[in-house]
Every structure is written in structure tokens, then in C-alpha cells.
């Protein structure tokens, strides 16, 4: 049986970030990463671009990278169960790996909405490289596509399908697209770009049932209308892949509950990335925040904690962040769009309606900033929020020109 000091389940952003952090503090002990896919590590975020053909299945790291860090990379190796009492990761294919310290960075799997009939029809999801290959293969022969869910995966897929020449309908239960990241105005701008490209966007629209039909399936909506599809893509979000922890004693809510050092309630088990449910910035509530920047940060914290790096800085709390490109447009979202009583909100929309900016200040500090085709540095904005920097006299200038003003604040304070 293989024994390892550090076992990392998963091989995407959080896992790789943790590996780097461990090696900074611990040059000696064994590290083993296990990846469910029989492939080098890749990012689920890249998959829409693989589908579109823009990316040729780029892998995040190669074998040499692991060799340079003296880490064992086991591909095609799925962990079925964690036996926390014995420090064992039992493998789906039989056998086990003994560990001293475990990081669960197993990511998330596509949510399967409880829609009658869905289980009986053929549909696509987009979470793995195999999913991407299957979808890409299906593109040329798709004439009528339905995308269920207007999240990032769904929106990207819809754009790809439209580019491939299919008639596309996006169905979203919420009243707007991208509800997790953008307010209604921004979402409206995004939706109109899709509409201009010929994509039908139907929001506030539930699906009653799905049934097989000639060449595909048909969806019956809440209003009784039927939408046929020769390709159905389900993009209704993801759920943390916590299955391997069942019975392990690790506390799970929606994701694996972790403290600010990504530590679970079990002494030698940590979790990071999409599988983890960590504190949100500025709250005590724990949230899922399945985005790359958060995974990288959590992986770093977990790695430092596992290797007992004395320089550890605890996780500051999750902030909602995203960068989204669609039909040549850029949408950026940093922080919260909630507008409480103590908030000051500035919103600007350009004449041509292609450009949109919204700034939310709370107590004279940045709480959120959102833009479409507006230049600002999201990384600087994120840091302004985390550092709770008072804009003070710079406030008016910031509201007028957030990009330049934020750069000046950054340069003065932490460059």
C-alpha cells in the first residue's frame, strides 16, 4: 500500500496552489496528488474554450513540473472513500493510499435538477474534458439547442452553440441571467447581446418536464409551452464533490465546512476550492464560492496550514468575483452588489448601452464594482475590498475614474 505524508485529492487550481505552498515550507515530505481523470491537470474554466476550439485542451502543468517539486502525480485514480479513522484513502479501483495529512480538493460536479423526465433523456453537461469533447463533437450537427441555466457554463455554451450555427434557447428560472454575479441592469445588457446574436433568452422560466422526442427531446415550460431540442445542455450550477467523505466524520453542509485555515473538523483533513464551504468576507456565514481566484487562495492557505508554515495568513473570506467575456464584450464583477441603507451606489450606463459601471461603497469603502466594457483592474479592486481601505478624499475621484484612482491607491499602499 502506498504511503504518503501529504495526500491531495484533486488536481485543479486549489490542489496545485496547495502543492506549491507546501513545498515552500516543507522540502522533504512526500506529496501525492490523485486526479480522477486519466490526464494531466486541467481547469474546468477552460472547457467552454475547448468546446469552441479556441483552446487546444491546454493542461495546467506537465510531468516535469511535478518532478521538479518531487510530487507524485497519480492520474486516473479516483478516491471512493476516506477512512479518516485509519488515515486511508480507499480507491474506486481497489487498494488504498495511506496519508498523514489530507487535502480534499475534489471540486464540484454538475447539479442535476430534479425535473421529471430529465434522467430519461440524453443531455450534455460541461465539467470534464470528456464532457467538452462530447459537446464539441455534437456542435456541427446541432440545429436546435436548449441551454438549461444562465450561469457561466450555460452562457458560454450558448455562445459556442450560436457560433456553430445552432438556434439556441437559454432557459433560466431566475428573472435574469448570471444572477450570482450581476445586477439586473448588467444582466439585461448581457442578455441583449445574446439576443442580438440570435440567441433566445427566456428568464423567470421554470421547466415542468422533459421527454424524449424525435432526434432529441422536448421541454415543457412553466407556461405550458414546449421547446424542442436536438441538443440539451444542463448548466444549472454545480454541487461540491463531497461523496468521498461520507461516513468519514468530516462535517459537511452544502460543501465541506472549513475554518479560516481551510481546516475541517477532523484534525488531519483540510479542504479547499469548489468543494469547500468557507467563511464569506465580512461575515461569519460560510458560503460556496466556486471560482478560480478563490480556489487558488484557499489552496495556498490550506498548503501553508498543512505544512505548518509560520508565515501563514488565514483566508480573508470569500469575495464574489468574476470576469466574463461574451461576443467580444467584457464583464467584470468584484464584490457584493447588495445595496444596504449604509451604501452609496453610483451607476453609469453609456449612451450606446454597451458600457455599464456600478460602484457600491459602504462606510466610504469599496464593497463592490461591476462593469461591462469598462476598464478597471479587478485584482486591485478585490484587494481594496479585502484591505477595507477608506477612500477618504480620493472618493470623488474614485467614483469618477475608478481605474486610475485605484491604481494610485494600490501604488501608494502595497506596490
Amino acid at each position: 500500500m502506498r504511503q504518503t505524508h501529504y495526500l491531495i485529492v484533486g488536481a485543479s487550481h486549489a490542489a496545485l496552489s496547495a502543492l506549491e505552498a507546501i513545498r515552500m515550507a516543507d522540502a522533504e515530505n512526500d506529496i501525492t496528488l490523485v486526479c480522477r481523470d486519466d490526464a494531466l491537470p486541467y481547469s474546468p474554466t477552460l472547457l467552454p474554450y475547448v468546446v469552441s476550439g479556441r483552446s487546444k485542451a491546454a493542461f495546467l502543468r506537465d510531468e516535469a513540473w511535478f518532478a521538479a517539486r518531487r510530487a507524485n502525480y497519480l492520474r486516473g485514480c479516483e478516491v471512493a472513500r476516506i477512512d479518516a479513522a485509519n488515515g486511508l484513502a480507499r480507491l474506486a479501483g481497489g487498494g488504498a493510499i495511506g496519508y498523514r495529512k489530507l487535502l480534499v480538493a475534489s471540486g464540484a460536479t454538475p447539479a442535476r435538477p430534479a425535473i421529471p423526465g430529465l434522467a430519461d433523456v440524453r443531455y450534455h453537461v460541461l465539467r470534464t474534458m470528456d464532457d467538452a469533447a462530447a459537446l464539441r463533437e455534437a456542435l456541427p450537427c446541432t440545429k436546435r439547442a436548449v441551454v438549461l441555466g444562465a450561469g457561466l457554463i450555460g452562457m458560454h455554451a450558448a455562445e459556442n452553440l450560436a457560433h456553430a450555427g445552432a438556434a439556441v434557447t437559454i432557459l433560466e428560472r431566475e428573472p435574469q441571467v448570471l444572477p450570482a454575479y450581476f445586477d439586473a441592469t448588467a444582466a439585461g445588457l448581457i442578455a441583449s447581446a445574446f439576443a442580438q446574436a440570435g440567441v433566445e433568452v427566456r428568464t423567470g422560466c421554470g421547466v415542468e418536464r422533459v421527454e424524449a422526442a424525435a432526434g432529441g427531446c422536448a421541454l415543457t415550460l412553466g407556461d405550458g409551452s414546449r421547446v424542442p431540442a436536438d441538443l440539451l445542455l444542463v448548466g444549472t450550477g454545480v454541487v461540491p464533490a463531497t461523496g468521498l467523505l461520507e461516513g468519514s466524520g468530516v462535517a459537511i453542509d452544502r460543501g465541506v465546512l472549513v475554518d479560516d485555515c481551510m481546516h475541517t473538523n477532523v484534525a488531519n483533513i483540510w479542504a479547499a476550492g469548489d468543494v469547500a464551504q468557507a467563511r464569506g468576507f465580512g461575515t461569519q456565514a460560510k458560503m460556496l464560492n466556486g471560482i478560480v481566484p478563490c480556489a487558488v487562495e484557499q489552496g495556498r492557505v490550506a498548503g501553508m496550514s498543512m505544512s505548518e508554515d509560520p508565515g501563514i495568513r488565514p483566508f480573508p473570506g470569500g469575495v464574489r468575483l468574476n470576469a466574463y467575456t461574451f461576443f467580444g464584450n467584457r464583464a467584470l464583477s468584484v464584490g457584493t452588489a447588495e445595496e444596504g441603507e449604509d451604501c452609496e451606489v453610483v451607476t453609469r450606463i453609456a449612451q450606446d448601452a454597451r458600457r455599464y459601471l456600478k460602484i457600491v461603497l459602504r462606510d466610504g469603502r469599496l464593497a463592490g464594482i461591476f462593469g461591462i466594457n469598462v476598464g478597471f483592474d479587478p485584482g486591485i479592486m478585490w484587494e481594496l475590498i479585502l484591505r477595507r481601505i477608506e477612500l477618504g478624499e480620493a472618493k470623488a475621484r474614485f467614483l469618477d475614474d475608478p481605474q486610475t484612482t485605484a491604481r494610485a491607491l494600490m501604488s501608494k499602499r502595497w506596490r
Binding site: H13, L16, S17, E20, M24, Y42, S43, P44, T45, L46, Y49, R54, S55, K56, A58, F59, L60, R61, V292, P293, V296, L321, N322, A323, Y324, T325, G328, R330, L332, V334, G375, D377, P378, G379, I380, W382, E383, E393, A394, T404, T405, A406, R407, A408, L409, M410, S411, K412, W414, R415
Partner: protein, 452 residues
Amino acid sequence: MSGYNTIAFDAGRCTGCGECMDACVQAKSEDGDLAHSRIRIVAGEAPDTWELAMCRQCGDPRCVQECPAAALAKNAESGVIDWNAETCVGCLLCTVGCTYGGIVWDESARHVIKCDTCGGDPACVKACGEGALKYLTTSRIYNEFGDLEDLFVPGLAGCQGCNTELLMRHTLRRVGPEVVLATPPGCVPGMGSVGYNGLTGSKVPVFHPLLTNTASMLTGIKRHYQRQGRDIVALALAGDGGAADVGFQSLSGAAERGEQILFVVIDNEGYMNTGMQRSGCTPYGAWTSTTPVGREAHGKRQDAKNLPLIMVAHRCAYVATASTAFMEDYYAKLERAIEATHRGFSYLHVYSPCTTGWRFPAQKNIEVARKAVESNFVMLWEYTPEEGLHLTRPADDPRPIEEYLEAQGKYRHLDADQIAHIRRHIDENVELIRNLCARPAASPLPARTALT
């Protein structure tokens, strides 16, 4: 693992002229639109101040970790974060990861852009006429000497924030194990370099000479090894008191005889190890425990003696001044000083502020050391009999002396007349050194001075 060169920005020198951005656009794009600039100077919060956003070529780059397409990578050779146009999918996650505004979307180019240091010859630095941008090559120290063994034991007991330990470790690391090290009474052995009660503080032969006879004891050691044909560096790490005052006779004698010794004086302007008494190197006006401040007295009444210039008068094989705030300069001089010991006496005078005795917070040491140099309170130069004397850091455009004096408690009592005296003394000293400097036409400055 290597250290890398980097573009440094001194906001205090930037005038916002934008020449750097023009140069960047010229170098990196065809249409000359400033939007393509990889370096971005922006107005600061205060009027007429300027700030910078550009890629820092981080050692632990978050943009690289956040890129889902492996389009960004730290180049192990150059240290630059390389961007790959082929694999980039334009997802903008790198711009979320970077907290410095170092990688940004170029709307007209339709891709992200970032600084690539022009392959190690950055156009922006060359265009900056104000000295606000510098291409620092300090990584040379790490790359060339980082693997050399630290020949002092861990845990020397210096005061918090003291730079002398830094200097000791760097110096001995560079000189190497074929050395006999003399550390006369003072802070250097006070930290435990020779050790206590049978325990040693270094991995090389080390001893306490008397405060008075460092250069003489090293003379005997070096001469005997020369007689035996062994090439061993006779090294002194001495304080200013032992060198300039009671130890001066033996120092002068050894220099006059051209003994092949490397004599490093760590000048903290007094007898700091024994309770901060004044030495011949204590500057005018400074409080020390023997030049106290009271109704009748206001610190030291005399100017410091300029020991390195006195050593120049000995026509040593090499004389240089250095500062712990300018380690690259120090390393270059240490290199030349070691080499010069094959010809004669080699003397290095390093200004090293004393957190305890000069009365400033421990974390301010490098800042105080830098201000001393930047205000011309001390000057960085080197001398050889062949090349004469020349500055290794320009003395033009100094900081106001008040910025240096105000940083230290030992000058807190100074009145306007005393500050005027100090200013006058600095002016005289700058004038004197300038007059001694070799004419640039006759003796071109070595290449490295262009970098500092």
C-alpha cells in the same frame, strides 16, 4: 532557484512626464497609442505626486496560478512572467488575480498585455531622465553568492534591527573559508562571533585581537602564510572606534607597509557595544553617552574624522566607502577589495546605523542608512592608486539633511545653528570629495556605476 533583476520605481523622483510610457509604446506597438503601454504612471493622491502600475514579475505569481489555459508562466531563466498568445483564451482571470494592475486588457489589441522587461533591457528605464525608474540587478548577489555557505553560526545576538549581522554574514560568505578573521572588541564579537566560554561563533578561524592591534596581528598571520605559499585572506571586521581611535596606529602602520589585509570597518559612529560612547567617528551634534545633552552641552562639539579619506592618503591598494542600504554596491566593492589584497592593503568603510545608539525604531535601519547616503551625509566612492577616486553613487540632488536628522533620536535636540553647521560640513565634504575625484574624461566610470 534564481533571483531576478527588476524594474524599481522611486515615486519621489517621478515628475509624471510620461516618457516611460511613450518609450514602452514605441517599443511594443505600432500605432503609438498610449493605451498599449505596459507601464502606467498615474496621478497620486496628493498634487504633483505620481504612482505606478505595472507587472512586478512576482516570484509567486497569482496570475499564473489563476490562468486556466497555462498561458502565463514564470520564466525560470529571466524571471519574467511570459504570456503565451497562442494558448491565451482571453478569459481575464489573470486580471482578477493580479493585485498590482500588472496585466490588463488592451481593447484595440484584443488581448491582455504585460511588461516583458524588453528582454532585460527595458525601454522605459532608459527613457526616464529623472532616475525614477531603475533596472535593479541586485539579484546578482543571490544568484552568485546565495549557495555559498554562511560561515557564521546561526543565532548571533545582535540588537533588534541591526544591519551589522547582515554585513558580517554577507562578507564572510563571499570571502569564503580560506580566511583568518579578526573581530576586535565591539559589536561584532559582542554578537558572539568569537563565542563564549569555549564555544565558537563561526566556522572559520576567528579571534579577538586587542582593540588596538587588529592590523598588526593580521600582519603576522598573513605574512607567515605568504611565507608558506598559502593564499589566505586576512580579514578584519572592526568597529569605527577601534579603527579610527585607539587602533589607528596599527591600522596606519599596516597600510603604510602595504600589508595584504582586507580591513572592513563597520562604522556605527561610536562605541555602541559598550554603551554608546563617542568615538572619533561620531558626527558633530550627535548625542552619545559621553556627549550628553544638557544646559551646558548639546551633543558632540567636533566633526567626525574622515577615516576613509585618511586611508586614501596612505595610497592603499583599494579604499572604498559603502552602506548597508546599498548592498549591490557593497558587493561590487567587496569583490574589488578582495582582489586588491593580492597587491596591498585593502580598506572598506561601511556605514551601518545603530538602532539602539542612534535611537530609531528597529525596522527603520535600512531607511536611515539610505537617507544618510541620499542626503550626502555619507558618500559612496572608491579609490585605487591607478584610477584615483570616484563616486559610485551620484551626489547630485541630495535629500534635505533634515530628513536624515529627524529620523534619529540622537539629533532630536539640535538647534538651527547646529543643523546649519552640519549642512555646512556636508557641503564642504562634498566639495572636497568632488575636488579629489578623477576627471571623468581621464578615467571613465566602471560599468556598474551606471546601474546604481
